[in-house]
Symmetry: D2
Subunit: 397 residues, 4 copies
């Protein structure tokens, strides 16, 4: 087995940049059993592609993803394109015998997601990964461990929200506001993360979405500057003197859920929570303890231990930066020399390389089958919103 892993990265925008940086840094900070090689970057925008490849050290670039995913040199295909393209690209890569890392949510539709899960199940020699990067915040990984160790006991409550505020009325109609490209709005973009996080930390599956609301507050949006065609980079159908287009995805989705163990939970994702920039938060209450996490203070985990003596019990502000004591901390900087958003991706690359080398990741990595469970919850929530009634997960397949 080679100790190199040649990566083909599909996508050169926000995630293309985040992943490139992760491949660049992982080997510097971790002692990797397998080294990711920035082999080929694939994008649609040829003009931007060469400088991108140069900047990030990709050895090759291409606009033809279909060819690239079949190249014999490629070991891992990283699908970081808009949601609507995940399935086709991932299936092709699996068919070519590659390992696949796919951005979240797994797919545009549940049907696509199922196809991906099934293909992954059949592709025995391929590993699959889904970029639920927030699992790899040290604080989230620690929360997962505390639950596993029984520090929370029986879990009663999950309270998860992912609040942003960039979707204000004046924000242009980029692809993320169009169903045909994005599938959903805040739901797939943000709820996907917190559903995964809840499942990951608690170790419990959701059994029912008991109620849901999906709402589009802003239905008409200005067309982006220079949007000349109905395209993924522009948006909106071109008509004479038309300066706005229709936003047909949710601005927010809220839902209530029951877990198989009996716990109950609230989930909320929105792009219109004024004042909340990237407020990805979760609180979990158990009989013996509770945890709280908020991404904007991502180096911290708050932990309440019900076993502390009453006089000094209190939420503990744990700075999760202690090498040897906190997941991933040993790879980075001295205590409380904090890390940020990008480090979650680097930590994930390190874990993917571990898995590809036959080792254990620091904490479990989501594969397609795992992400499919999250996709089912996303689907159940949309159904519950549509029918204004509870939907059992057993009915969503």
């Amino acid at each position: 087995m080679s100790d190199m892993c040649n990566v083909a990265l599909l996508g050169q925008k926000f995630m293309g940049r985040a992943h490139s940086n992760a491949y660049l840094k992982a080997g510097r900070f971790f002692n990797l059993p397998k080294t990711p090689v920035r082999h080929t970057i694939v994008g649609l925008d040829l003009i931007a592609l060469a400088p991108f490849a140069d900047r990030w050290g990709w050895r090759n670039y291409s606009t033809n993803w279909k060819e690239v995913v079949k190249q014999s040199e490629i070991d891992l295909v990283d699908v970081s394109t808009p949601n609507c393209m995940h399935a086709e690209q991932a299936l092709a890569a699996l068919a070519a015998g590659k390992h696949v890392a796919c951005e979240k949510p797994l797919a545009h539709t549940l049907k696509d997601a199922r196809a991906m899960k099934n293909a992954a199940g059949r592709a025995r020699r391929s590993k699959t990964f889904v970029w639920f990067n927030y699992r790899r915040c040290p604080a989230v990984a620690l929360a997962h461990r505390l639950v596993q160790e029984g520090r929370l006991g029986r879990i009663y409550h999950v309270r998860a929200k992912y609040l942003q505020s960039w979707g204000k009325p004046e924000t242009p109609l980029v692809w993320r506001f169009q169903k045909k490209y994005a599938g959903t709005g805040a739901h797939g973009d943000l709820n996907a993360h917190i559903i995964d996080m809840a499942r990951f930390i608690t170790g419990h599956e959701i059994s029912e979405v008991t109620g849901a609301i999906a709402e589009t507050f802003i239905t008409e949006r200005p067309l982006p500057a220079g949007a000349a065609r109905d395209s993924i980079s522009g948006g909106g159908r071109r008509k004479k003197n038309v300066s706005t287009g229709k936003s047909d995805v949710d601005d927010c989705v809220l839902f209530l859920a029951r877990f198989k163990n009996g716990a109950v939970g609230t989930f909320e994702a929105t792009r219109l929570a004024t004042g909340n920039l990237n407020n990805n938060s979760i609180e979990i209450n158990g009989e013996h303890g509770s945890i709280r996490f908020g991404f904007e203070d991502m180096n911290l985990l708050w932990f309440f231990d019900n076993n502390d003596d009453k006089a000094t019990a209190g939420w503990r502000r744990i700075m999760c930066t202690s090498a040897g004591n906190h997941p991933y901390a040993g790879a980075w900087w001295p205590d409380a020399h904090i890390i940020g958003y990008e480090h979650t991706f680097v930590n994930m690359v390190a874990d993917m390389m571990a898995v590809l080398a036959g080792e254990e990741p620091t904490v479990p990595l989501p594969n397609f089958a795992d992400a499919y469970e999250t996709q089912r919850v996303l689907e159940a929530a949309m159904l519950a919103a549509k029918h204004r009634a509870a939907v059992k997960l057993s009915e969503v397949k």
Copy 2:
């Protein structure tokens, strides 16, 4: 019109004490147009009653509420008994021509609440009040004003929760865990507060409960020490060697709501949120701004003004203690010499006296008709939980 207001207070427990203190203090800190007189305290426990009256300066005490509410000297009857007794007592007081202040939730059942609302509507000379005391946190009153002034603009989101943790498995079966006395558990006790707060701050009514979960995690509880009878102070049916009894109220109720203006909201009340002692919190997001309030830091209001210039925009931590600038602050202590829980009741007494004297309260006071709207939402949530489907408020009357 006399400048005295003779009060008969029914109830000598937690709320009896909170209200007694409020009547004691209001005239010391506010210049009242009408002075509350601690005329008669009414309770069931005669042994405790005399010392209670003495301690709090009640001129008379009685175990016979039916007589007291009819006494000609009494101006205001304050109903602070368990929920199941509200209706009978309030109706009797109204029938006797008294003003009535009733603890929340308005009643045990929607039917009772409706009867109370209707009786109040007919009793033209009586004023009614409901002790939604959290409206009178200066920070909550300020939030109400900011919304009224348009500082939040169109409201998109309400996020309310009232989290406590005293309902752990070992907590005895007090009356609050028994349906016949309490009606509901966390729902009527805690959700009542946050529904009122959401309605009060936003000025919008809820039009639909789109989904709800009611859950009793702990169904068997130890009987309280000395619980010898099926009584409101003890609890549980007595059997030989039986040391536990059945808790038949909700430990938590979560629901999703739509408001008439189009806003959406989440509500959650629980007694099992380990680590949360009295976490009564609300966040409201509007197009032009947002507010956040949490009772455990009740002197603070957090406000985000979307009109601030981008370089210095941020959540503002407003210490609501500035005389002349913040509601109620002028009555109390110098800036940031903070107030606490009990002051919300004192502020409410001051406002009730203002209303009884024909003046305006600092911010609107809830009467029976107003509290009935909250009760309808409570009912809708229980129905939605039962039917696992959306319930329109128009169907709940």
Copy 3:
């Protein structure tokens, strides 16, 4: 021994009100072995005095403190006048055989303070108290206990500050800005509190002020409206067309200190810390743990336990409201139904009554001898500021 304690309160302004409220409430919330009776209120302003007495339930009022402190009915004289009057009044009360409670700082000058301490030492039948009310925040009392129990181990650092911001340039020249009435500015008003708090929590005396700065940023201030004479309520010498007067007290005093046990500390008091309203904060670091307290969140104590396992160690946010577990909490409201500024005075009255009845206070009460030690530190700091050099406490007597 009577179970009543007749109080004569000298002073009817801010502290007169705070103390009146404390005497009013103490017996309602605590089971007192001795009941404070609001016997006589003494003030200079006869017009305000009668309504004040009426409002707060003082049985008598007088403008002649010299007579009142000698009245045989009086048990406790409470000196809540400006600093310059403390000594004369307290000495007269002690000479008359009364117990004396004096506001802080103990006196205008060290000489006066010494006289008070000595008189108190000779007056064997009199108890003395000084209103360092912040000791009676439950969180501060808990901090004291934790240190006593050895939870902090050897103490290295004390970091205390009391930051206010009302002393801005446009604030009028009230008596607090004039040396002849106030003695000092922020120093005696604010540093007195934090010196006491540091001594109280650590149990260690200060042995040296190693350096100090006293600064008057604003030397000319507008005269208060209606200030016609050089009086304690007005201020400034009257001249033709003079609209400002000279502020001759410090706006801030900062100093460094060494403690007898070897710990080192910083102290800072100011009236010009824009944005800080009543930020009275202390942090203490020991070998085994640390505590943090800030008055604006006075219900909280933050505690770091160095013995916690590394993975879950963190500052604990302790809500000090648990009956049975936290000092004073049992007298008040349910957990996290927070208390405020005024409760510190009520707690102190309860403890004073305990001491007068021969019982133990919840935590130690400062008497004149104790407050004299704080006064010596205040003096040492002023000397160090003046001489721009270290001053040993052994040199300040």
Copy 4:
């Protein structure tokens, strides 16, 4: 002028790693006018050097710094060795006509620092930089700008502290505890940072250290494992059966300062503030506003604007991540996708490259002359501690 900048980095430990990462990343995130080339890494430990060079992409490595700093290919010498070596290496690099970036504090002694400043002054073609990296936290840079724009007005107070806790009794005697290598302890390591930060944000120089305390709490420390000789990596003089050695640097230094504009300040650095891991904090109070910064929440700046209307004035929590609105933010990730410790170094490399290309840095970069002013304050504080008296900066040259 080449658009490449060949760097020779001296030092391969903590700072060697932080700087390597910065050179690696800067060109990926910024559009640099000049590209740093990782040309040669220099270290003492040959065994570690080759893998380090390989890991970080240094083209060459060497143990002979004297040769390297003279190589014609080298443009910039980065001195990241222990403090005692700064002067010799920086002087040699300047003598060879190189640009020099030196870690802080500038030097081991004031004399060395002065020599460096003077040499830099003479070397007209060389640029010098000092790694006061915290200036390049976006929040700190924003604070600097707000002061420059007059948003704080006349500055009254500076309150700076840098609190760590790793210096506990059981921590071994590494070089940082030995005077001959480190010069000072917490003082040069931590106070250097906050002195620079205070000077940078306020724009004012310190005119006097009015008092200071330097304390070594732990004077004997265990020798590091494998410490066989009196060496920089080990420590302690070898004697038979000796397992501890003498720590002869300060564990903490506290001082009071006056600024030329009349402001006053407190400074404190310690390695024994239990519970504080990397608490590098500053608060500055001015007539019109105040700012607060704490490194552990480095993406945030707190700002209080005294011009806000009183009803809604409050400390603003500014998330300094808004591209176009906050310094450096445009180079990184979307709003509130936070950055961490390492980014301060990357931002600094970007600014150094700008300066070397003749452009303006985002905010001013400290050169040797600037860092010399910080060094004078460090010296003044040590003198004040020694003499237990005030020291004017004019006396320290």
